[in-house]
Symmetry: C2
Subunit: 261 residues, 2 copies
Amino acid sequence: MTLPLSPLAERLRIRSGDFAGQTAGLAPGYVQGNIAILPADYANEFLRFCQANPKPCPLLAIGEPGEPMLPGLGEDVDIRTDVPRYRVFRDGVLENEPTDIREIWRDDLVTFVIGCSFSFEEALIADGIPLRHVQMNRNVAMYRTSIPCRPAGRFSGTMVVSMRPLKAADAIRAVQITSRFPNVHGAPVHLGRPDLIGITDLARPDFGEAVPVEADELPVFWACGVTPQVAIANARPPLAITHLGGSMLITDLVNSRLAML
Amino acid sequence: MTLPLSPLAERLRIRSGDFAGQTAGLAPGYVQGNIAILPADYANEFLRFCQANPKPCPLLAIGEPGEPMLPGLGEDVDIRTDVPRYRVFRDGVLENEPTDIREIWRDDLVTFVIGCSFSFEEALIADGIPLRHVQMNRNVAMYRTSIPCRPAGRFSGTMVVSMRPLKAADAIRAVQITSRFPNVHGAPVHLGRPDLIGITDLARPDFGEAVPVEADELPVFWACGVTPQVAIANARPPLAITHLGGSMLITDLVNSRLAML
């Protein structure tokens, strides 16, 4: 058995180029974040979008313009090097997926770190609620919905949700547990019939991987941190940098301290 | 518009014989309770049953043996006169439904007051969640289920649940709100498919009145204070006294103070 590394040790391993994969399960107990990096010209509008849509876009931290260090998230956190793999978009078009963005960093870039469901999944598992995608070692299933986000400036779109199949009693308990974590998407936004939120086929997710929903289970849907990526794609800024799905920023924040009570 | 009466004024009106009907909506803001009165010989076992099954049988108060006054529930509360209508069972068989039990009161009778969903319904309505049975002025629909209670001594049975149809987002919010009220049944025990808890036809409740469940709604099920009446019927004590469904004891306790946070 290998002891888990600290968040700092994981970031240094990522920074050095030794690791460029999925971060689920790394540094257990610590918060991981979704990343969006935008030019200052777009950042204020994106901030308003996040504040208007806190369930899919719960803000954990915002960097100062041009400042790659994020001291509020931990020791020596450098957003240019500490994410395993980035996605770079120019005018809304994917350009490449580097492991380091030092060469394209600019003085006007603003970093947004957005809460991720890994934090509440840890609380669900600790409570004894089985999560099928974790058991099957798959990325969670995510779907575009018909639920509109509130637009802000050039940012708009519909909500993306993640889905976890749960028995009814576990779904009720999951509402209780995730309600305590508003900074990582909070309570579900829907449960039961997928068609009521514009999802036509649970077997064909728009992102991630499908998992079976058994006859005695309800699909339970949480607002998802992929939502802001969709809004950014709609806004088509000249430059936007995100993380590759599942390759998150590992912070020094403690998951359990995100609980509001 | 008539101003609502205080809980004490309602109890005095009931005690005088002026009112013997349903108490829903009376003394808004104040806790109403389910009643079970048993001989001391059965009372200890029933207390163990309640403590083993806190969701259907949340105890608000227990009287001293032979003592009809319940000072913990309010001013001058006399359990022999202050319930609008009682049901008297001998050896498990309904004998009559009097409005006063002074003549059959005994020195060995112990009173149990059990939380009632009226308290959390008030919180749901205040939050803007529509409750169909309230809108239709019906008694809530209640069903026997296949969910076993933990037996204690001679008391046993399956859980009775109340059902409220809600849209998914309201169901999620209702889980949050009712979780704050563990002393009045707390969070739902089930939602979605009724057959998974042994209910074959929502249109035919075992107690109360049916309400329609619309296509975009989920049936949401809460543990119900009728459960202890079923357990008492199974135990067949020589004497048992309950309230008539919906004709509750009105207390001086404030609903919002039942919230655990």
